[in-house]
């Protein structure tokens, strides 16, 4: 790999870092430090989370249908959802989903 490419990796890493860090490091607006967030900001996180989940799950579901492995996908998803509703633990939901997927292959 060339030196120019490594310089590019450093720049890409720095730009990625800045997009992650800048909003976290920005000072709060003076005057209203503990004001409740506006409705849109309160909903922004759950909306992003739902969008990421769909962006991850939908291509996986399509690939499962295309490859004929819908059964492990469906059982894995059901197990993950059931574990989450039962114990409210995303780690447990992940392990349950992976195990159910593996056992149903």
């Amino acid at each position: 790999m060339t030196g120019a490419l490594w310089a590019a990796f450093v720049v890409i890493g720095a730009v990625t870092y800045l997009t992650r860090a800048l909003p976290l490091l920005r000072d709060r607006r003076p005057g209203a430090p503990d004001a409740p967030p506006p409705a849109w900001l309160d909903a922004l996180g759950p909306c992003i989370l739902a969008a990421i989940a769909v962006a991850v799950l939908l291509p996986e579901a399509r690939a499962a249908v295309a490859s004929g492995s819908l059964r492990p996908f469906a059982l894995g998803a059901l197990a993950a959802a059931a574990a989450m509703l039962w114990r409210r633990d995303a780690g447990l939901a992940t392990v349950a989903g992976v195990l159910a997927y593996w056992l149903s292959i």
């Binding site: 790999m1 120019a4 490419l5 590019a8 990796f9 720049v11 890409i12 890493g13 730009v15 990625t16 870092y17 997009t19 992650r20 860090a21 800048l22 909003p23 976290l24 490091l25 709060r28 967030p37 506006p38 409705a39 900001l41 909903a43 922004l44 996180g45 759950p46 909306c47 992003i48 989370l49 739902a50 969008a51 990421i52 989940a53 769909v54 962006a55 991850v56 799950l57 939908l58 996986e60 492995s69 996908f73 894995g76 998803a77 197990a79 993950a80 959802a81 989450m84 633990d89 995303a90 780690g91 939901a93 992940t94 392990v95 349950a96 989903g97 992976v98 997927y101 593996w102 292959i105």
Partner: protein
């Protein structure tokens, strides 16, 4: 209930990040193996993962480098793809209880999965502290970087050992997001969240995957009418 909330400890953060690590490893193995295929050495793969730490951007680079894409264009396109992170910081900044130094360290590892895990942890009013946040981010970073190195050194080791185990571990991130999404749904944001999911689904189904997250985020603007 307050006594059910996790402590602000490195250990609690490590535990919270285990599902992310399980999900990252198979993808990192595959990335490392693929990177050696275009001429990267083992140390170079590790360095690239450590510096860039973005699965989507690194996968893009694996295609862009052999295609001979101009470096400024690579930087521009990966930068555009990273803009979604601005939203993550915007959402988390008032929900976490870390000082600026620890926020700066945490930001090194603020991936989609780390964001989702941190946000889900705040659902019952808890404000994650610096130690917890840094442990989550560093665990994710270590899993991705370490997995890339193993993949580069040993090929796609997991897939070579067991095809079914590799397939099952590939389901870890979908399972994690099922859990995190179910854990974050609240009655007062149910309509915007459903709208966000619908917009993201439309983007994916029409082949505009990159618009799924920013498009879904826009659904939050409907919150003022559905509270």
């Amino acid at each position: 209930m307050r006594h059910d909330l996790p402590p602000d400890s490195f250990r609690a953060g490590l535990r919270a990040a285990i599902p992310i690590a399980i999900g990252y490893l198979p993808a990192a193995f595959a990335f490392g193996a693929a990177a050696t295929g275009i001429g990267f050495g083992v140390a170079e793969v590790g360095a690239m993962s450590a510096i860039v730490f973005s699965g989507a951007n690194q996968a893009f680079l694996l295609a862009a480098i052999p295609a001979g894409m101009a470096i400024p264009l690579m930087i521009l396109l990966t930068g555009a793809a990273s803009l979604r992170h601005l939203l993550y910081g915007l959402v988390l900044r008032s929900r976490i209880a870390a000082d600026r130094t620890r926020r700066a360290v945490f930001a090194l590892g603020l991936t989609d999965e780390v964001f989702a895990t941190a946000l889900a942890a705040t659902a019952n009013g808890w404000r994650p502290g610096g130690r917890w946040l840094i442990a989550v981010a560093l665990t994710a970073w270590a899993a991705w970087t370490g997995g890339s190195i193993i993949g580069a050194a040993a090929g796609d080791a997991l897939r070579q050992m067991s095809e079914s185990a590799a397939a099952a571990m590939g389901f870890a991130l979908p399972a994690l997001f099922i859990g995190l999404m179910l854990g974050s749904i609240r009655r007062e944001v149910a309509v915007p969240v459903a709208l966000a999911a619908a917009i993201a689904a439309l983007a994916v189904l029409t082949g505009h995957d990159k618009l799924a997250i920013p498009g879904g985020a826009l659904a939050c603007l409907s919150a003022r009418w559905f509270r």
